[in-house]
Assembly symmetry: C4
Homo-oligomer: 190 residues x 4
């Protein structure tokens, strides 16, 4: 099987996930600047989730460019990843309304953790199906960034019950780590 | 006519159907774990429907890969399938809120049944339009799994009025039947 | 300019328009069959609109297959068509809740009329940009069906204020006229 | 990296953004013409935003057709543009309900301004990555129209607090400026 429709379907789901979050930002009833400021935390949680989904789309894009063929297991590993990513709007909405409360922040960290694991599983299935010399081999070499992200997500769950702001800081740090362009990936995807 | 736009449109509809279900999972007003647990049945019904739509997307993907050309009847058979699949979020939402009540479960079974029949009709139209030696001929050979699924959906409708949990178990069994990779399909779609 | 992205964008918009209508079908609060029957008119209006959008997607698909190139005016003629089609869910929702009232039915007829005119304008722009021998010339030959549809839509607007059921019958007749496969189109789009 | 998936993802996001605005137009409870007229300002704000998003889609389409390759920075510049465009439905909804109030109009102007800047940044990143003789060089030559638009958006923000109708007139003038087909772009994108 070729990768065309897998990419098209993933693009579709990610495009929808990234935009339905805006539906959660309801236009305020009142029309003064204060009413707009009340929406601001929801806006910030949307911004953070937009960046995370942008990172996943970018990495997914690079990964699939180095992929030559897919099988049934890879289709399911990809759907598994899309499943966790599709829960981000739900968690974003809960966090946006309650950004100082532990449970929503912990749930957000949990969904980011599961998404990271699902991406890892997708990489593993892709490598299994390609031979040794495939560019996939090098792209999917996991470095400090990959392990660090997962460790930070794991820590952010219990930390949310002590101080939710530390967890939020964790999310921002991981996002910055990933926005910095990944030279290793681009090299192989020209 | 080529299959490109049929695939693109189907991917679009399926991607939307699979993600709009999450919109039904409203972020709870309260922020404790109990409030999250209250959303849990809705989450499980989302998970089940996500898996069913994933199965349909996978099978549709395989089917179209073996297809060389389409005609007007095939376009309508495909739209007919998409119509029933597009009702899954509605049924999922009703089931998620009332998973112990007979009517929502029976409706869910009915929509799964109609989707399975619509898929069958699509296969029939595709075979009619291709010649004897087309790979479609072998891919669409209906085996035990196909007939068993339809029988289980039919049974799940009346059973829901006796015990909705048995019907739910039926849905899970059919899903597992289909998640197991279908060697027969993959062979022909490389 | 090639037609690829015009098709992709149109497919995206049509896929979304066709599926967001389901969001209007809210899962009923109650769980008996009566509650489901209350949703039935909404369901029927969804079914009718699904068929209309299916017809437009089919015809658009055929039209673009015979198209070799597009220009800026064609892009806008296409956006104009998508604009009217995107209003169908709004009208569908209003009709579904009030199918015996004149105003919603008249609005529905008006939007169908404007969509038909927009499709016509798109055809005109496409023909202008292609030479005499293009297959477009023959595909876009307007026959009885095209003129009849527009006349029926125009009539359905005032008729809705006398008897909304006659207007509904008009919509169903036009839909049936168009579901019958159009030999003229398919011939040129192999 | 090739431009295929960047286009597909952008088309997906723009198609969703352009259609979710309709979701904000709730079918009125009542069924007389007056109820429909009450929705009219919301309709007009939808129409204006539809045209703006149509302009962005058209220009983005032309820009990417002259693009041969993309890198990580371009992917992010594109996501940045999509981010601001995705906020248009939120602003549209707020304006539609309160079109005579300063704050919503000023926010609308601000989001249009940020979108224009984001588009500019995308052009800059694209030019950096292509050599001197690329057709991109000429397409992205900024003329009066580009600078005038940005100046008008900037002015529309404070003006909204004096008279919101002047700001609305500004939005309409800029839209008309851009709907007139851009000969310069089409020449290079055949």
């Amino acid at each position: 099987m070729k990768t065309g429709r897998l990419e098209a379907f993933s693009d579709g789901v990610l495009a929808i996930v990234i935009t339905i979050m805006v539906l959660e930002m309801k236009a305020p009833e009142e029309t003064n600047l204060k009413a707009l400021l009340d929406v601001f935390p929801v806006f910030l949680s949307y911004l953070l989730s937009f960046i995370y989904l942008g990172i996943y789309w970018n990495n997914h894009h690079h990964l699939l460019q180095a992929t030559q063929k897919v099988n049934g297991k890879i289709l399911w590993a990809n759907l598994h990843l899309l499943f966790w990513l599709s829960l981000i709007p739900f968690a974003t909405s809960w966090v946006g309304e309650n950004y100082e409360v532990s449970e929503p922040i912990a749930l957000y960290a949990f969904i980011l953790l599961m998404s990271a694991i699902a991406y890892w599983l997708l990489e593993i299935e892709l490598i299994k199906f390609h031979d040794e010399n495939s560019p996939l081999k090098k792209i999917t070499q996991r470095g400090t960034k990959e392990y660090l992200s997962i460790i930070i997500y794991v820590l952010a769950i219990p930390v949310a019950f002590f101080n939710s702001w530390i967890s939020i800081a964790c999310f921002i740090i991981v996002a910055i780590l990933w926005i910095v362009p990944d030279k290793r990936l681009e090299k192989f995807s020209i």
